[in-house]
């Protein structure tokens, strides 16, 4: 199995579980607590010494630039679930949602003639911090693009308390379709979606399988994090390029909406 290092924040830590089935995870970078058999990696040198063969960034990190430079020098592939910066898509493999079977099924429902025409899509994904919600929304926008068609306008709102960020984006298309995309700072596999069409309704059930502990906390048992499958796909030499362009200006609008507490409009 390929020896990898995963860059991952706390809120996406549950996604690490599935990596052990398809990769030899040397360790993790970031605030995610490493799982059993995984170490915390201090920097690229330690990973290179341990024979790392690929680096996978599930969430943004202040150390991403350092890792990217080291990987380029050593010719080690680095793939990320979002762009390094608005002008540098190097290593970005869009479409993490496509490896979530529930979302694929909802997107596929539109191919059934009896479902008619899409009307409205709601999708919830997770991300925290400015760059975290940016990455998550780019993925969610790719999902909305696939389901509704080319977005024409985005209305961007951000709500923030301390280090906790929440964004809501209204996507509109030229032919009257609408999507509401929102991020949550709590861990969430991103499979919560509802699609209304002229012929029906498709939605994923909120988890029915959960374990209730003695303190009253519910732990979901059927979380479907797409990250490991996305990484496997992204590391293939013949991985297909994305079919939707990055909406330029989204990061700026998120920053402005947060600062001004206003709904910002981004024409595409």
């Amino acid at each position: 199995m390929m020896r990898i290092v995963v860059i991952c924040d706390r809120h996406r830590a549950p996604a690490l579980k599935a990596f052990g089935h398809c990769f030899d995870v040397i360790g993790t970078v970031g605030t995610a607590k490493p799982l059993r058999d995984m170490a915390r990696i201090d920097g690229p040198e330690q990973a290179i010494d341990a024979g790392v063969q690929a680096v996978i960034a599930l969430t943004p990190s202040a150390k991403l630039g350092e890792w990217n430079a080291a990987c380029q020098t050593q010719q080690i592939p680095l793939i990320s679930a979002g762009p390094m910066s608005p002008t540098d898509p190097n290593g970005f493999i869009p479409g993490r949602w496509r490896h979530n079977a529930s979302l694929e099924r909802i997107a596929g429902a539109t191919k059934t003639a009896q479902m008619g025409t899409p009307v409205f899509l709601r999708h919830t994904c997770c991300g925290d911090g400015l760059h975290g919600i940016w990455w998550s929304l780019l993925d969610s926008l790719d999902f909305a693009h696939r389901v509704l068609g080319q977005p024409r306008r985005l209305l961007v709102g951000v709500s923030r308390r301390g280090s906790r960020w929440h964004a809501a984006v209204t996507v509109t298309t030229a032919d009257g379709k609408t999507a509401h995309l929102q991020t949550t700072p709590a861990p969430h596999p991103g499979s919560d979606a509802m699609l209304l069409t002229s012929g029906g309704l498709a939605w994923n059930e909120a988890s029915a399988d959960s374990l209730q502990d003695m303190d009253g906390n519910a732990i979901r048992l059927d979380d479907e994090w797409p990250d490991a499958r996305w990484a496997q796909h992204g590391l293939q030499q013949d991985a297909e390029p994305p079919d939707s362009a990055l909406p330029k200006g989204l990061l700026t609008m998120l920053r402005r909406a947060s600062r001004n507490r206003t709904i910002e409009t981004l024409e595409l």
């Binding site: 709102g157 951000v158 809501a168 209204t170 509109t172 009257g176 509401h180 929102q182 700072p185 206003t262």
Partner: protein
């Protein structure tokens, strides 16, 4: 003590028929008469009002002013067309009667203001029962009050009715600003009709809105396309504390949901996110023959199913999911304790102001409106 209730009209555009069982069953209320202004209504409504009075075994009074002079009337349940409600509410308040008003207190913010003013001047008690007492709002408030999700960052609601028989819709213009007109023979404006429930939840959880954007259109019914009205709409807002809210609302056609339409809220907080489904817990009832024989076609005299519901495979377990019984408890307790109910004409006025700002945005294809 029991309070005498006067039922003001059984307009097909309202929910008086839904209120009757509560007034009959509640130990604190009794129905004493049905009334309307016969010279201002059509034959169908005149006949319907009389049928209900006969069925309930109470007199029908063909003049509202005369009915309001009855000493056995303590509460007036107003469920007339939206365009007549403000006038009737002001009239009843001036007569010293307490008010139970179906959903909307007026057709415009000015009319809603007049009702708020009339209630204040007459020092009567008012309640608008439809928004605050249902499962979605009460469960959301319970979660927020327990503090489990930390500070609230946003609320997102999907509430739709799986009603009506959709048919191909011709290309339609952007829906028009209602400008005080709500009554159509065949359609209801659905940002108003179904969206107001979700606005009730946003009101309960968030502060006053600052910016609003809405979109909508005719996607399911040619009747809406022909009248430049919406059968589906969505709305996004920010509140005075920078928090986010959104809703989707509409009449989306029969057989699209096992419980008659989604009724779901997502509350996003700093310490957690919760999804609340007002249709859960539900009892799944799959009777083979009933499913095979199920006829989802609406009755010919109620094509949009304003007065009827679709067959439900998974009805909610709660016997009061809309909270009408809880609302009546609140009104009776408020009268006994000389306090205000949780949701009065004042909150209903704010609800209407949010919807009308939404309509201003909707008519301009989603331009952001500052409130």
């Amino acid at each position: 003590m029991t309070y005498g209730v006067l039922l003001l009209s059984f307009s097909s555009h309202s929910h008086q028929r839904n209120f009757v069982p509560g007034f009959l069953d509640h130990p604190g209320t009794r129905i004493v008469a049905v009334a309307d202004d016969d010279d201002a209504i059509d034959d169908d409504l005149r006949s319907l009002n009389r049928q209900w009075a006969q069925q309930l075994g109470v007199p029908y009074v063909p003049c509202v002013e005369e009915a309001l002079t009855r000493e056995d009337v303590d509460i007036v349940s107003i469920a007339h067309d939206i365009e007549r409600r403000a006038h009737l509410a002001c009239q009843a308040a001036a007569a010293g009667k307490h008010l139970w008003i179906d959903k909307f207190t007026g057709a415009t913010v000015a009319e809603c203001d007049a009702v708020v003013d009339a209630v204040r001047r007459a020092a009567v008690t008012s309640i608008v029962p439809s928004y605050h007492y249902g499962a979605l709002v009460q469960r959301s408030l319970a979660v927020l009050n327990q503090g489990q999700i930390g500070d609230l960052l946003g609320v997102h609601v999907d509430l739709m009715f799986s009603k009506g028989w959709p048919r191909p819709v011709p290309p339609a213009e952007t829906p028009r600003d209602p400008a005080g007109r709500w009554k159509y023979p065949d359609v209801k404006r659905e940002l108003l009709t179904t969206g107001s429930y979700s606005v009730g939840l946003l009101q309960a959880c968030l502060a006053e809105p600052r910016q609003i954007s809405a979109r909508g259109g005719a996607f399911f019914f040619p009747e809406h396309a022909a009248t430049h009205t919406e059968d589906f709409a969505s709305l996004t807002l920010t509140d005075a504390e920078g928090r986010l809210g959104s809703l989707s609302a509409g009449r989306i056609g029969v057989a699209t949901h096992p419980s008659g339409g989604p009724s779901t809220a997502r509350l996003v907080g700093t310490a957690g996110t919760v999804t609340i489904d007002a249709k859960r817990p539900a009892t799944n009832l799959f009777v083979r023959q009933q499913i095979i024989d199920a006829d989802h076609r609406p009755a010919a005299d109620d094509p949009m199913q304003w007065a009827s519901g679709p067959p439900s495979l998974a009805p909610p377990v709660s016997d009061d999911p809309a909270g009408l019984r809880a609302a009546l408890d609140d009104l009776v307790d408020a009268l006994n304790e000389e306090r205000s109910p949780a949701y009065t004409v004042k909150e209903a006025r704010a609800n209407m102001a949010i919807l009308l700002a939404g309509y201003r945005s909707l008519a301009t294809d989603g331009e952001v409106v500052t409130v």
